[in-house]
């Protein structure tokens, strides 16, 4: 067994959210620069230039890239040889969110009782935490400040197995078309296929963490990613919906086996401010 103290986890979570909100990851920047080169639409070029300029200002002046510093989503890969000491793991993560959002001048965007009073929790907790138990004696923490504009356009469907590949294409393309400018394109499109209803939604969200444009290792899935990207960019929505070639920077699909009667498909969208940061303790 290897001990990891809760205090260390709290500190890591605080730092991850603060850094994620001001530094756009390199792979995202590279993808946006590439899109800028390929664009034909003058309005789209202008939007992409502003996105790049914004990233530069955020980085230099420590101003959050976007005022929506998100729901604090945390993915854990917890080695089964790890022993958490000095408190409980999820409270340590919430404390990290509390400290990070305060120290980093990040916006607290969570409301209690979301269907009625909607009173702000004032510290951006609770974090939304997903834990995978894995072999080993390390703890990997991924912080993902998830903005609501893109999150609100999430869709889940339980297709008939007979719908197959074409059914998936129709559903994903329709989802992006309906999301239009609301989700802040250019997007990264996360798609979960298989598993159960709730599992495929988590798959779709996890797919957003993959390096932008890195294909699924399965050739058949990678081919579907390429076709979907082409179809989505043919919609013409473009950056911020002003019209253009770049509606999505990438489509990332994750697949799991499913029941003989089921074909669950989920789409979770990531806006161009694709913020996430990881650390291994």
């Amino acid at each position: 067994m290897r001990d990891i103290k809760c205090k260390r986890i709290t500190k890591a979570v605080s730092r991850l959210f603060q850094e994620a909100c001001v530094y756009l990851p390199e792979d995202v920047l590279t993808a946006i620069k590439q899109a800028r080169k390929n664009e034909e639409s003058p309005a789209a070029k202008d939007v992409l230039d502003r996105i790049l300029e914004n990233a530069e200002i955020a980085r230099k002046e420590k101003i959050p890239l976007c005022q929506d510093t998100g729901t604090a989503v945390v993915f854990l890969e917890l080695g089964q040889e790890v022993h958490i000491t000095g408190g409980d793991l999820y409270s340590a993560i919430d404390e990290g969110v509390r400290q990070g959002y305060e120290e980093g001048y990040l916006r607290k965007s969570m409301v209690r009782q979301p269907y009625s009073a909607r009173v702000n929790t004032e510290d951006n907790t609770p974090a939304i935490i997903y834990t995978d138990i894995v072999p080993g004696d390390k703890l990997k923490i991924t912080a993902m400040p998830k903005g609501a504009g893109a999150e609100n356009m999430t869709r889940l469907t339980m297709l008939l197995p007979a719908s197959g590949r074409q059914g998936i294409i129709d559903f994903v393309v329709k989802t992006i078309d309906e999301a239009g400018s609301n989700a802040c394109p250019p997007l990264i499109v996360g798609v979960g296929i298989g598993g159960t209803a709730e599992r495929t939604l988590i798959l779709a969200k996890k797919a957003l963490l993959r390096g932008v444009g890195k294909p699924n290792p399965d050739a058949e899935v990678a081919e579907l990613e390429r076709e979907l990207l082409k179809r989505i960019n043919n919609l013409g929505i473009g950056p911020m919906g002003y019209g253009g070639r770049t509606t999505a920077l990438a489509v990332h699909i994750e697949v799991l086996p499913a029941h003989i009667a089921s074909l669950p498909v989920a789409v979770n969208l990531q806006c161009h401010s694709a913020r996430h940061k990881e650390v291994v303790l």
Binding site: T69, C184, G236, G238
Partner: protein, 185 residues
């Protein structure tokens, strides 16, 4: 080239604005989002005046991050306008002349824009650091207890927006998409 436009917007100015135009706004706007809209419309329903005189004014749909010491405001980009659609026709009828946000509006809002002569403008979502540079003053004027959702009066200089819906019924989101759409066989 971007047109420079003074706030508050005049009826004459609105006639010059066409969907797709890039505009730099200078003057005063009011910041309000979900919770503030709910309260303003409740006030109107009860026959009470809203916290500022809406007539001729422009509302920016935004909830900033906290300002670091010595700064006017934190990150300050637009939020999704569609969530305000249920309240907006009422405010347009009360004299609201401009809105700044991002994302699509409902048919009811677009009808109100034409009927009462108002415009919907968009700022680039996800560029709150850049946009904060054109905000020169910010003060909370109402509903302070709402925190980031309080109503603020802001003074802006060359604040960059694009006209989405003009008074003539054009919609940049539909026109832009149609122009670059490729039909899949």
């Amino acid at each position: 080239m971007a047109k420079r436009v003074a706030l508050p917007l005049t009826v004459e100015t609105l006639k010059e604005l066409k969907a797709g135009d890039n505009v730099l706004l200078t003057g005063v706007m009011y910041v309000a989002r979900d919770a503030a809209h709910k309260r303003m419309v409740e006030a109107l329903d009860q026959g009470k005046p809203p916290p500022f005189d809406i007539k001729g004014q422009t509302i920016y749909y935004m909830g900033p991050t906290p300002a670091r010491p010595g700064r006017v405001i934190g990150s300050a980009g637009p939020t999704t306008s569609g969530r305000m659609d249920v309240y907006t026709p009422r405010l347009i009828a009360a004299g609201l002349r401009g809105m700044v946000g991002k994302g699509m509006r409902s048919p009811a809002v677009k009808d109100a824009l034409k009927k009462y002569q108002a415009v919907y403008l968009a700022a680039v979502g996800g560029t709150g650091a850049l946009i904060s540079k054109s905000i020169k003053r910010s003060e909370v004027i109402a509903y302070e207890e709402l925190g980031t959702e309080a109503i603020c009066r802001i003074e802006v200089e060359d604040f960059p927006v694009t006209v989405i819906n003009d008074i003539y019924g054009s919609d940049l989101y539909q026109e832009g998409k149609a122009k670059y759409r490729v039909n899949d066989s």
